[in-house]
């Protein structure tokens, strides 16, 4: 046993040797994208497959090395990196980093190409490259009839590179490169079949909606920069002391790494709470600069709320979730990789990364939790009435992301990250399963026109069933544990002065569990069980090749085994046991807990769920599934031919039309902007400025000139007369002056 532990705790490449190669993890897929994109046409299909897949496979191997290196404890010395913002002895354990130097600098601002891999980004690296590789493999078969294969693999590699940048960045601006980069790749992939206008529009909708989020993200970044400036001017030694830093080191860190480095922000977060003493606390007003007058806490709340809007764009939450269902226009592997497993979870990752700042603001946390809960419920309700298999899964993704946001908002970061991980496995499996179904059924996506596939597509069916059970939360699959860990934390954590949120969000969570079970069972039952629909496009479905089924099997397997992470197997420092994943992420989340303890903004609970909690969650899920089973296996088949009540029809129509949210946005946002643009152009630009002012000036000049021209008649008598009159007038005037 010790031998095994020793094996896993000794990285094959020592961390300090490996660290300078971290950039390769990003460069490999980037190179793959370049080769496929530029030379793909000449390389041919097989070579493109080879290049694209091996680029990702290489990145996966490197990620594995990086991940391994972050757990390295060879010779009893845990791997650690120096913290540029802390004291000399203050090192970051279980992390490796490398700084490739300045990206750009101006004034006292600077951004470095700094990469950081700790347990949080390490596990995400594995998810991105691992699932990414499986999806690349799947795509080689899925896209076998498409002429744009080289474009597809170039975009897909580009996406992976951007996503890796996002999770490995050690500062906000570099993270933003990945953040927008994945948006760009997503734009290209959603509109991959650009000849279909609707699909290209969906890509644009996704990009522009994301841009709304990015707008907030940028402003939040600027506010953070201003806050860091104010902090470094106002903080006194006690503040720095409480954060394990000193003025000299912190200033040095700012100078070398720039103000938006996560480690630096973390130090500021550690110094801000009331209890740490010092000149700066959350209630301290900022003295100088553009933020003068606002308190640190107030600015932090505003910043975090803006980040929420940014995250809502990327992670498809209210009010910006509308792009994700439309994004299903892209090829199915894209939906699996980008719009289920990786990109859309970026918001959750962002908040985990900045957890120490987030816990400073209970208001922002409560908002995140409530937004997550509302989004999740709304999406689940919409999913009830969708007939397109990918649309159901898309809304299900929105709903699951909402659950993760609930976890993040209530401070159960580790559980949210765990749900991110398990969701990546089972949702990718579901999407790829859906893709396999489409592939075998002539691209049919309407679940009402499928049915009875369990015999014809055995592998697809089996894996789809496993992942459906996982997402509905049936014991003992991973989804059950991760979701339950979130709900347990949500229930027992308490936000300062906002105690109602726990109860509310928890109740919503149970409701969502039931809904999830309902719509997922519906999809499964309609697609795979029963008789084959008479409207099916092809009479007999065919099972897909092993390129497609192998990833399904691996992912289904993963959605079972990741449950290990949620089991309380590791010793807790204060006695008792804690879940593996909580233990695993504790080096990353420790600062957040310290901040929460000192600031008393959120009371974090570390109990493990009791048997009763599990039972309740399980029963709720079962009830949802059972209802679906009853309705779709017994009730509706019996109702065929009978008239449907008007009420039921109206409800279904509303849900089917997504509660008319898209139409609402069109009506209150898009049309007014277009209208204003049109009016401004026609009235202000063309009429007022150009016609009245500019041409008006020319017109007046011309008319004045024409008028004056009449004076120049060339008639000497007239000139003489005017001269005489003028002299006379002058004489009269002079006389009057003299006389008076």
């Amino acid at each position: 046993m010790d031998g095994i532990v020793e094996f896993f705790r000794t990285a094959p490449i020592p961390p300090e040797v490996f660290a300078p190669s971290l950039g390769l993890i990003i460069l490999l897929p980037l190179l793959g994208a370049f080769v496929c994109g530029v030379f793909g046409k000449w390389l041919g299909r097989a070579n493109v497959h080879l290049v694209a897949c091996s680029a990702i496979a290489g990145a996966f191997v490197l990620s594995l090395m990086a991940f391994w290196a972050t757990s390295d404890a060879a010779g009893g010395r845990v791997v650690s990196m120096p913290n540029a913002f802390g004291l000399e002895r203050d090192v970051v354990r279980y992390a490796i980093s490398y700084d490739y130097g300045t990206w750009f600098a101006a004034g006292d601002f600077r951004v470095n190409f700094g990469l950081l891999v700790d347990h949080l980004s390490g596990i995400l690296l594995l998810v991105i490259t691992g699932i990414g590789f499986l999806i690349h493999l799947y795509s080689t078969s899925y896209m076998e009839h498409d002429d744009g294969y080289w474009r597809f693999f170039a975009y897909l590699n580009l996406f992976v590179a951007a996503m890796l940048t996002l999770v490995m960045a050690d500062n906000l601006v570099l993270l933003f490169v990945g953040w927008e980069g994945v948006g760009m790749a997503s734009y290209l992939l959603i509109g991959f079949w650009y000849t279909d206008s609707a699909k290209a529009w969906a890509g644009r909708k996704a990009f522009v909606t994301n841009r709304i989020g990015d707008f907030a993200f940028l402003i939040a970044t600027f506010l953070l920069i201003l806050t860091v400036n104010a902090f470094s001017q106002q903080a006194d030694p006690r503040d720095y002391n409480s954060a394990g830093s000193s003025r000299a080191r912190y200033t040095q860190g700012l100078l070398e790494k720039g103000p938006v480095t996560f480690k630096g922000l973390e130090k500021m977060a550690l110094a801000l709470p009331e209890g740490t003493g010092g000149a700066v606390s959350l209630a301290t007003p900022i003295e100088a600069g553009p933020l003068a007058g606002y308190t640190f806490g107030g600015v932090m709340t505003a910043t975090m709320l803006l980040f929420l809007l940014g995250a809502a764009g990327k992670s498809a939450q209210l009010p910006l979730y509308v792009w994700l269902p439309d994004a299903m226009a892209g090829p199915t592997p894209v939906s699996a990789l980008i719009h289920a497993a990786t990109m859309v979870t970026a918001g959750v990752y962002l908040f985990c990364r900045m957890s120490s700042l987030l816990v400073l603001s209970p208001t922002a946390m409560a908002t995140i939790a409530v937004v997550g809960a509302l989004t999740s419920l709304l999406a689940a309700l919409i999913a009830f009435a969708q007939d397109d298999i990918k649309k159901v899964l898309a809304y299900s993704t929105v709903s699951q992301l909402g659950i993760m946001f609930m976890g993040v908002g209530m401070g159960v970061f580790w559980a949210a990250a765990l749900h991110l991980l398990t969701h990546a496995c089972f949702k990718a499996c579901l999407f790829l399963g859906a893709g396999s179904v489409m592939h075998g059924n002539g691209d049919e996506t309407d679940i009402k026109k499928l049915g009875g596939l369990y015999k014809e597509m055995k592998w697809t069916h089996a894996t789809f069933l496993v992942s459906t059970l996982a997402i509905t939360g049936i014991i003992p699959l991973s989804g059950f544990f991760s979701k339950d860990a979130i709900f347990h934390g949500v229930h027992h954590n308490h936000l300062h002065d906002l105690h109602w949120v726990s109860g509310f969000v928890y109740a919503m969570g149970l409701l969502i569990t039931a809904c999830t079970a309902f719509y997922m069972s519906r999809v499964y039952l309609l697609t795979f069980t029963g008789k084959r629909s008479p409207e099916a496009k092809v009479a007999h479905a065919h099972e897909s090749s092993w390129f497609m089924t192998l990833p399904l099997v691996v992912l289904a397997f993963l959605s079972v085994v990741t449950l290990v992470y949620a089991l309380p197997l590791m010793p807790r420092s204060g006695g008792g046991m804690q879940p593996v994943f909580e233990n695993f992420l504790s080096p990353v989340l420790r600062p957040a807990e310290a901040v929460a303890r000192a600031a008393q903004t959120v009371a974090l609970d570390h109990s493990t769920p009791a048997f009763v909690d599990y039972l309740i969650a399980w029963l709720v899920a079962l009830s949802g599934g059972a209802t679906a089973a009853f309705l779709y296996l017994k009730f509706f088949p019996a109702q065929v031919g009978k008239p449907v009540p008007a009420f039921a029809r109206a409800v279904r129509r509303t849900a089917h039309n997504k509660f008319y949210v898209d139409e609402l946005y069109e009506f209150i946002l898009i049309r007014p902007v277009k209208f204003v643009a049109f009016i401004l152009f026609r009235v202000v630009d063309a009429l007022v400025i150009d016609t009245v002012l500019v041409r008006g000036t020319a017109y007046v000049t011309e008319k004045v000139g024409l008028g004056l021209r009449r004076l120049q008649t060339g008639d000497a008598q007239a000139y003489a007369a005017i001269m005489a009159l003028a002299i006379l007038g002058g004489a009269v005037y002079a006389l009057l002056q003299v006389l008076s």
């Binding site: 990206w103 101006a106 004034g107 927008e180 650009y194 841009r211 553009p290 630009d685």
Partner: protein, 563 residues
């Protein structure tokens, strides 16, 4: 001490003129030779320009590669050239665009080919001259001379409505610059006693500096403190705002800022591809360059007073320009209005008066030259094939022109400032500088709206032109880019990536200029920490003695030596 130590800038500036003389000697039927000679001239000029750019030492003196000889001494003029970091960067942009513009026009221009290339070469000389002028009157001469070849480019080789657009462009800009001439003369007269007056930038600035500092102290002091001012400070107190207004109007028209922008869409729409590229790439920058070099440093107090107003105009320009784009049906007009939006960022960065903002502004000037220049170039290729500018006449051409589409989409991403491309660095720094500045937070927030709108209109255009099915029969057989077109486009695409990923070499050369600009512009700001005098004063070479100047053609050693 070689010839180039003293004359490098002269070579860069007048080389196009020399080649213009060569072209002039060719018979006008020899189209190939005319093109080839012009292209070689531009390439050679590029080589010298790049050399000058690399000779510029970021840690050295403010103005480098100076050259100064007496010229119209009676008027207080001298022929004085020199480059600072910003001018060097814009000079690089200008010589970079030169050969590409010639390549872009190879098939586009089909009549009066010799005259066209003559105009291009002369235009190049005037633009380079304006950037390198260290004498205000010399700057004015080049600044005005620029209008003539551009007027011809639009008026002779333009599209259907070219006359109207050319006249509008000419008169619009002339109104502003004539007022500026009045202000230049006025500054000349107030800045010194008879006999020591000078149009030289360094002298003018240094003469005004003390008065500006006095004025700033009293303006930001208690009420009525300015009543006791005497001498130059009193004059500046009374007339400074007017002189600033004259300068600002001239440059604002050139930028163009809202609401004096309406010449731009017409000029761009009617101009041939070369005209649009140069207009967007370089000439608009003369406006921002003028603010940076003349209007704001010479009248810091008046500029400070007008700053909120101008910043409001800049923000309006950003948002308004973007909204205009959403209302366009004409692709060239859309790109033209996007220039209004992008130049709004440049102006906002300048007016933020923070080093981040000013650096971003300078970088954004380069970016805009690259990305908008490339957009006009690419659209020019399309226009040659189809001869229509309406979006509705295209649609689905990605299918028939994949390489062209790829290039256009990459440039589009640069234009909407996706991180990793050059546009992001400029926009990010400008916005950050605005947030950091003393302007209220709302300015930054509204300006950031451009991020959303920019994506909305650019992708909308891309969608309309490239995606969907092919709706017009004429578009079915469009041929993709040929080798010449690819070679013309490639430098832009390379620069998009290089300037996005390795901006530091460019920023380093801009940095010393920004620091000085910020120091000089904050002279008028209340409570500004007084910058060191060596940041404020302009150090330039003094006029050589008359004996040496009698033989200006001989590069005698003392000419180039800084004293």
């Amino acid at each position: 001490m070689s010839f180039f130590d003293t004359h490098l800038l002269n070579v860069v500036i007048y080389l196009p003129l020399v080649f213009a003389a060569l072209v002039l000697m060719l018979p006008s039927t020899e189209h190939g030779q005319v093109r080839a000679i012009t292209f070689v001239g531009m390439l050679l000029d590029l080589a010298f320009g790049v050399w000058a750019y690399f000779r510029f030492e970021p840690s050295g003196a403010e103005f480098q590669m100076e050259y100064r000889v007496p010229w119209f001494q009676q008027f207080g003029m001298s022929y004085h050239l020199g480059l600072d970091g910003l001018a060097a960067s814009l000079l690089l942009l200008t010589v970079f665009l030169g050969p590409l513009v010639v390549l872009a026009s190879t098939t586009y221009i089909s009549h009066r080919i010799k005259e066209f290339h003559l105009a291009l070469l002369v235009l190049q000389t005037t633009m380079l001259g304006a950037l390198a002028s260290m004498d205000v009157l010399l700057f004015y001469i080049f600044f005005e001379a620029m209008l003539i070849p551009m007027y011809l480019l639009v008026g002779v080789w333009g599209a259907e409505d070219r006359r109207m657009a050319a006249v509008k462009f000419f008169l619009y800009t002339l109104v502003g610059s004539l007022l500026m001439l009045v202000a230049i003369v006025a500054v000349y007269f107030v800045s010194g006693a008879p006999g020591v007056r000078s149009f030289d930038y360094g002298t003018l600035y240094n003469n005004l500096l003390a008065a500006n500092q006095q004025l700033a102290a009293c303006t930001n002091g208690p009420e009525g403190a300015c009543a006791s001012l005497t001498g130059l400070a009193a004059t500046l107190h009374t007339y400074g705002p007017w002189m600033f207004a004259a300068f600002a109007l001239a440059f604002a028209i050139k930028v163009p800022m809202w609401p004096v922008h309406t010449w731009l869409p017409d000029a761009h729409v009617q101009a041939p591809v070369a005209g649009s590229m140069i207009l967007a790439g370089v000439m608009l920058k003369m406006g921002t360059y003028g603010f940076w070099r003349f209007a704001i440093p010479l009248f810091p107090v008046a500029a400070q007073a007008a700053r909120p107003f101008l910043a409001v105009l800049a923000v309006i320009g950003i948002v308004y320009g973007a909204l205009m784009c959403l209302a366009q049906r004409d692709i060239k007009k859309l790109i033209a209005y996007s220039s209004v939006s992008h130049l709004g960022y440049c102006m906002l960065g300048l007016l933020a008066v923070t080093s981040e903002g000013a650096t971003g502004s300078a970088y954004q000037m380069l970016n805009h030259g690259i990305s908008t220049g490339a957009l006009f170039l690419l659209f020019g290729f399309l226009y040659e094939r189809r001869h229509t500018r309406l979006m509705s006449d295209y649609g689905g051409i990605a299918k028939v022109m994949p390489v062209f589409t790829a290039a256009f989409v990459i440039i589009t991403f640069s234009s909407v400032a996706v991180p990793g491309t050059n546009g992001f660095i400029g926009e990010f720094l400008v916005l950050m500088g605005t947030f950091k500045s003393t302007l209220p937070l709302g300015f930054g927030a509204f300006a950031t709206l451009g991020v959303i709108l920019g994506a909305a209109y650019m992708l909308w255009m891309v969608q309309k032109v490239f995606f969907g099915g092919i709706t017009h029969r004429e578009n079915q057989h469009l041929r993709d880019m040929n080798l010449r077109e690819m070679l013309t486009t490639a430098p832009f695409i390379v620069l998009v990536a290089v300037m996005g990923l390795m901006p530091q070499p460019f920023l380093e050369r801009i940095a010393p200029s920004t620091e000085r600009y910020v120091a000089r512009a904050s002279v008028g700001a209340p409570g500004a920490t007084q910058a060191k005098d060596d940041q404020l004063r302009v150090e330039v070479m003094s006029l050589p003695s008359t004996a040496a100047a009698a033989r200006p053609s001989v590069p005698a050693a003392p000419l180039a030596v800084r004293e």
